[in-house]
Structure formats: structure tokens, C-alpha cells
Symmetry: C3
């Protein structure tokens, strides 16, 4: 597919690594240790892969100096301080790039929209009034960019994305297919047994270098804006409600959901399926393990969890029944009673001993 | 963006409130207390916002009579019995409305479809045989309305929505972007180790004043129809399986999932991420807290929960190990044993006392 | 809608069942026992439906021999060994089929793509370079089929589906609306406080007879491919991360999420909302109950669960507080202490008895 190949020396140079072995070896792709062939470069990141590295058919390996010393039977290496980072950098070399620029003839673009000459607009994209698409940005087919939305430079917006609610998107932002940014927040005033819709008048602002997966929903704010700061990365099927704020470089795995007006700090990591209630604050550098339910603010950096571990269903049923019973079992009091009874028994025993001595 | 402005008197009139202060003050938008400027109207809904209200730069405030009496340093008010409801009403005044009618030239509409003259059909919408779109409904770009689907009056269907399975949609229904209504239910008959697809022959019926968020999936029924009654409101990324029935004015936050054939009553509130098994019944006026797992019918109104609270991960690990142990710890029997041992010890102590008296 | 009708005899023949009663009875559809009319065929699958079967207005019933013997007041039957399977087969008789072939004039198809003459390509579909669409496959409106994607024979791909990442789709695969296959996996190398994107170079391979619901996200692999084996069935809003492998005939209900590189065996059943961490293995024939969190490999077939049962919220709060306390309550040690104290008390009591005897 990608006929381009590079010399080992060239690839080593790209990652500022040391080239060891056949400098002019031509490599045409990256592969896993397991599936690599002679034309592939693979990487070794930890001692546990050493055995696999030794038997891999890869043409060359990215390794640390320390790992290299332990690998038998391989001759071609790129030695780098951080092989995983070197691998990450080289994926961009072998990635197929979108090279086209210009506007497909079928795209519908309002005359008031400003589209950079170096941008690409795919087939059947629909772009509304006063929109902006910056230099070298790629808008794939069928995207809907509603009135007053702005997209920065070097963005990639995949097919069927809906950008609405006057969203403002920074530079180098990647939004994957079928995601909706700027949809109406879920705001209703209850009155006399019915829900009265609150039209959402805020927007969404997304910083630079943000990544959003496929099938995500990121709603516009009620009055103020929903905010994703620079470097935030979000996986697929994530819900970000109105007026949420997410700090720089926070990462969120698939299926997380953040309820309205919650503020999340910088450099946080949320594993998959985490749910967070509305109107709370989460500090910087907080890790939340998978499927946890966060129901109150977190003011200290650290790792937090909820849920119960997986069990065989029959064992789980017994534990689950006992969980119910916990409601009526005063656990801490129980420990106190045990301690008290222990002292009573000891007292009785000393009496018995005394009695025996008395005998 | 929205150059229109209104006098304080006019806005007070619209919410049947009392105008206090400068009656001809021009206001051009709503804003939060924090970000409001002189041209903005903000609302105060509870005592806890009084301090912020006093220092807000808002041109005027929506308040109750009681709150007004406690606010210093502000002179312009709309006094209303329910400020939040008044705010909800006024969001519609400042909301940008979709004004266009007619059918974009690129829309593909089957000749047998009936589209109201006052409806709007966006670019690249595809509308099939025998479809109906009612008066003043807005169908945004790229919608797919499959054969025999009917959409009522004054509906708003955002971009990339798929309406299929002969769905029937009421009046004043709002469906946000990239949602799928009427997709095939997940029905398979297992036989000899394989799954045999059951073609779904039922449909979906959605009442009036229903609101469905973005990226939702609401499946058609197997034989009978999936039903959402009037006034149901649903947030983003929600799954409604085949043959589910949801009663009037029930609200469901993001990421809920309701399995097949379950019936949910009226006026229920499901917080985010709630999961409900199939083939059960949930009464009217039931509240389910976030991320709860509902595995059996609920016959009484009230609030229900499941899950465990968030803990620091190290503490959580210890609690989680003990949760496993619960399977083999007979908690209620344990309490009985403690009580029994207590009585034994008391008996021993009274004996000891007697013995001592006897001495 | 579907004017076609079939004789009872014909329908019995189609499911290799026995026709009992009026052989030339014309039936025009399937219906539930509750809503069936004289023109409908209904099925009875278990004793608990016998009463409803007796009073149903259905024209005829699919039953087992044993069930038939217990039903009063009905005269027309199809007797089959497995009525549910017979029903599943007959849904295909009454299902509305997509009959059109050919390419809609508005579809954008790259000249290098190979589209079978017997395939159908809907309005505004966009098909890229070197794509293949096999015989009798239906690609609905607005689909995006990116470069190098291949779709087998007799597939059904509903509207707004995005197929990218050079995905390869087998035969008789059904993919429902707004699903994304082959989106970029969530891979980033952390370095100096930032996330460095790892371009995903693997693909997605989907076997034959696979079914994927609406609004799903199935990512392409990082280096190797994400794999769904033959006969896998997946419901709506499911997340399959990069490099996941799913064995043949495994079923996954709505809202499941499988993290990267996890391998799942054959014939597994995952109920709704199950989450599975990355880099683990799950054996064949494993059932996971709803909303369970799977955090480690499962090597034995069987049923597994996690979570806590639903309680009234007040009771739940008490149990939840106790769950926290469990972290500091040594349950198993507590049982040992109780046993030890029991023996101490028994010893004291025997002493007392002896003392009493001694008296």
C-alpha cells in the first residue's frame, strides 16, 4: 500500500537515536515483534519482551542501550532513550497522509464562510454562515459545520462530524467520525409536572492539540461556554455535558461521562467508563480507575476508585446479598463489641485462674 | 451576534414578573452572575448566590421578592415567583431561531413523500417513500428519513439523524445530531451454536414534546412498537432497546441504557449511566441515582441506588477484597452469634459474681 | 404496508413444521399474542404464555406438540420443535426487503473502486480509492467508505456509517446506522507532560455473518489488526478498542466497552454495559452479567459478575458507608476471633459447670 521505504540510518536520525548495524537497510513499515518481517522495524520497551525480540523476524529493532545488550540474534538497531516515544514519532513517517487540498465540487459552503486555500473540504460537507476553516485543515465528507463555527489550522475532522452551537476549535485538533460538538445541553426547568426547555446560549471552546474520538457528544453551555483546554485527549463514545471545563493534557478513555458544570483539572487520567456527577471540582493530577462513579469533589491529587471486583456469579450473589445486609450491620460497632467481649472473657479467665489458685 | 435587545419592562412582561428599577433599560442577552455585563440579565435562584448577586455587573437580575430584599447594590430587577422558570422562558427570547423554510435544492425527496410548505429540509437530506414532514418542522442537513417515517409539526431534527423502521414522531419533538431512531432491535434466536437473526417488524412511536439528545440509539420493536410517551426528555448517548415503553415526562440523563421490553412509568428521573435489564416494570415517580444497575422491577415510587462510593484506590482495594470475603462471611448469623456470646458472657459473669458472693 | 400473505400450509412448510387446522388460511404477518388479529401468526414458547395463547385473537399459533395439547380455543397451528426459531425464520418472510440495485446518481465513487452490478449504493454515499463492494450488498445513503476498504457480499450498511482505516468486511455483515469502523485507535506516548499521538497503522478485519448495531465505534489496530471473527453479534453504542480480538459467535449487548488488545473467546455472552480492561484474555463460553467490570483474565468458562444490587437510596447509603468501613474491618480475622472466643466461653462454661459440680 505504502511503497515508500527509508534507510535504518535515516529512521534513527529522525528519532535522534543511534543507528547500529546495516545503516542502508531499507525498511518500509513498523510492525509488532510477532508479525514483523525483514522489511519491518519493531520496538522493544521492556525486559518481558526480550525473548520475543530475540526470535522476531523484524529487520531492525528500536531499543534502549540496556535492552540491546540482552538481545541475542539481532544485528540491526535504533538505540533510543525512550523506544516507545521513538516508535510514536515513526508512526507519523509511515502513516498515510491526506495530501489533497481544495473544496470538492459537491460541498455546500455559505459565501460568508472563510475557507483557507490550503484546507480540504470533502464531498457533501455543508458549511454555514460566517464559518472559518484554517490553513491545512481537512474536513472530511458529510461534515456539518453550522453557522459561526470556527476551525483552526491543521485540524482533521472526519466524516459525519456535526459542529454546531457556534463552537470554536483551536489548531491541530483531531475530531473522529460521527462526533457531535456543540449540541444543545440538557437543561430543563421542571414546572407543574412538565419539563420546560432552557435554550442553550453558551458555546464550546476547544483548545489546541485536542483529540476527540468517534461518536462523542460535547454539548454547548447554557450561558457560559463548555471548555476543553490545550492537549486534552478523549477516546470514543464520551459524553461531556454543558459547562464542563477540562484542564490541559487531561486524558479520558472511552465511554466516560461528565455531568454538567463539573470542572476537571490538568493532567488527569480517567480510565474507561468513568462517570462524574455535575457541579463538582476535580484537582490536577487525579487518576480515576475504570468505571468508577465520582460523586463528590476531589481536592487531592492521587488515584481513586469505586465498584466491586469481578467474581463468579454464584459467589457474587452471596457477596451481593451480604452487601445489602451491611445496611443493618454496624461494622465498626461490631469490632468494638468484639474487643469489649475479649476483655470480658479475659477478666473471667483471670477470675477462673484466681479461683483455681484459691481452690 | 444577536443584535436584538429588549427593555427590562418588556422582559418582565414576558415572564409575568414585576419590573423594578429602570423600566426602559435595554438588555441584549442572558448571562451567568459571574460573566454578566451591563447589557445582560442574570438570575438568582437561592440564598447561596446572594453574595455573587451583589457584586455581579449584570444590568438586571431575575429574583424572588424574598431574595430581592437581601441583595445590596443592585437596582434593576424582574421579580418572579420562580426565577429559574422565568430564566428558562427568556432563553427562548434570546435564542437564535431557524427562520428558513423550503427544501434545499440538493435534498433528495421521494415524490410520494408529503412535506409541509412551512417545513425546512436541509442540504443532502434524503427522504424516502410515503414519508410525512409536518408544518414548521426543521430537518437539518444530511438527515436520512427512511420509507414510511412520519414527523409531526414544529419538530427540530439535527444533522446526520437517521429515522428508519417506519418510526412515527409526534409534534414539537427535538432530536439532536447523529441519533438513530428505529434501528433494528437486537434479536437473535440461538440454535446449534449460532445466532439466527430475528428481523424486527415492529416500529417506534414517539409522542409530542419529546426531546432526544445526540448519538442516541432507539430501536424499533420486534413485533409491537417501542414507545416514548409525551414529554419524555432524554440526554445524549442513551440506548433504548426494542419494545421498551417510557411513560410521560420521564427524564433520562446521558449514557442510560434500557434493555428490551422493559416498561418505565411516568415522571421518573434516571441520572446518568443508569442501566436497566430487560422485561421488568418500573413504577411512576421513581428516581434512580447515577450509574445504578436495575435488575428487578420497582413497584413503589421512591429513590433507588446501587454501586459503591469512591475511595482512594489503596483503601478501595482493601474494601474490594473484603467485598469478596463477604461471600463467605454470614453477616446476620455473625450478629446473632455475637448476641448469643454476649448473653453467655453475662451469664458467666453473674455466676462469677454469685460465686464471689458465695465465697 | 406489506400486502403479501401466505397460507398456513406454506408457512409451516418454510419452517419444516406440521400444519394443523385450516391449511389454506391466509396470514399476512407476525404479531405478539396480545396484539395479534385474525390475519396474524403468533408464537408460544413456554407454559407461562398458555393462558394468553388461549385468549389470543391470532389466526394461528406456532407451538410445540406439548404446548399445543394444553391450549384451548385455538384451531390453527404450526407445530415445530423450536417455535422461537420457527418465528425467527418467518420474520424474514414478512420483512420488507431492499430490492433496489445500482448506484444512485448522487453517489461519489472513485473510478478505482470496484462495485458489484448487483450492489446498491444510496444517495450521497462517498466511496474512495481501491474500495470493493460485493454482490447484492446494500450501502445506504450518506455512507463514507474510505480508501482501501472492502465490503463483501450480501452486506447491509445503513446510513451515515463511516468505514475507514482500510477495514475489511466479510460477507452477510450488517452494520447499523451511524457506526464507525476503523477509526483511529486511542494511542498516545506520554513524554514531558504531553501526549504524543501514535498514528495507527493497523486495520480492522470483520468476518462473515457479523452484526454490529448503531452508534458503535470499532477502532483500527495500532500495528496489527482489530479482529471480529465470524458470527459475532454486537448491539448499539459498543466500544471496541484497537487490537481487540473477538472469537466466533460471541454476543455483546448494548453499551459494552472493550479496552485495547484484549482477546475474547468464542461463544461468549456479555450483557449490557460490561466493561473490560485492556491486555487480558477471556476464555470461550464465558458469560458476563450486566454492567460488570472485568479487570483480569478469565481462564475458565462460566458466569461472572460484579457490582452491587439495587437498594432504596437510604438503605443503599448505609450499606455504602459500611462498604467504606470494610477497608478497615478484617472480616476473615473477625470470624476467627469469634470462633476463638466461642471456644474460650465454652471452656469457661465447662469450668463453671465443674465448679458447680465441685460445690
Amino acid at each position: 500500500m505504502n511503497p515508500q521505504s527509508f534507510s535504518l540510518e535515516k529512521l534513527a536520525h529522525l528519532v535522534q537515536g543511534e543507528c547500529v548495524g546495516q545503516r542502508d537497510l531499507k525498511l518500509s513499515g513498523l510492525a509488532s515483534l510477532e508479525h514483523a518481517g525483514a522489511q519491518h522495524l519493531a520496538f522493544v520497551n521492556a525486559d518481558k519482551y526480550l525473548e520475543q525480540a530475540g526470535t522476531s523476524k523484524a529487520g531492525a529493532l528500536i531499543v534502549t542501550e540496556a535492552l540491546k545488550a540482552q538481545i541475542q540474534g539481532q544485528q540491526n538497531f535504533i538505540v533510543a532513550a525512550n523506544p516507545y516515544l521513538a516508535f510514536a514519532i515513526l508512526t507519523h513517517v509511515f502513516e498515510r497522509k491526506h495530501a489533497q487540498t481544495g473544496i470538492e465540487s459537491t460541498a455546500q459552503i455559505d459565501p460568508s464562510a472563510i475557507i483557507s486555500d490550503s484546507a480540504y473540504i470533502g464531498h457533501y460537507a455543508v458549511i454555514g454562515k460566517h464559518c472559518v476553516v484554517g490553513d491545512e485543515s481537512v474536513i472530511q465528507s458529510h461534515c456539518r459545520i453550522d453557522d459561526d463555527v470556527e476551525v483552526g489550522k491543521q485540524c482533521f475532522i472526519d466524516s459525519h462530524v456535526t459542529l454546531t452551537g457556534q463552537a470554536k476549535i483551536g489548531n491541530r485538533v483531531r475530531i473522529h467520525a460521527n462526533t457531535v460538538i456543540g449540541g444543545e445541553g440538557f437543561g430543563f426547568a421542571p414546572y407543574q409536572g412538565k419539563w420546560h426547555r432552557i435554550a442553550q446560549l453558551g458555546s464550546v471552546r476547544i483548545g489546541n492539540d485536542v483529540r476527540i474520538g468517534s461518536n462523542c457528544s460535547i454539548d454547548r453551555g447554557a450561558l457560559d461556554d463548555t471548555l476543553l483546554d490545550d492537549g486534552v485527549i478523549i477516546d470514543n463514545l464520551v459524553q461531556i455535558a454543558h459547562n464542563v471545563k477540562i484542564g490541559a493534557n487531561t486524558a479520558m478513555a472511552a465511554k466516560c461521562g461528565i455531568a454538567g458544570s463539573t470542572e476537571i483539572g490538568k493532567n488527569c487520567i480517567f480510565a474507561g467508563g468513568v462517570g462524574v456527577v455535575g457541579h463538582i471540582n476535580i484537582a490536577d493530577n487525579v487518576t480515576i480507575t475504570g468505571m468508577s462513579m465520582v460523586t463528590k469533589s476531589i481536592s487531592e491529587a492521587g488515584s481513586y476508585s469505586s465498584g466491586t471486583p469481578m467474581l463468579e456469579s454464584l459467589q457474587w450473589k452471596r457477596a451481593a446479598v451480604r452487601f445489602k445486609q451491611l445496611a443493618d450491620v454496624p461494622l465498626t460497632q461490631l469490632m468494638q463489641r468484639l474487643d469489649y467481649m475479649k476483655s470480658q472473657i479475659e477478666s473471667l479467665e483471670s477470675t477462673k485462674l484466681r479461683n483455681n489458685y484459691d481452690d
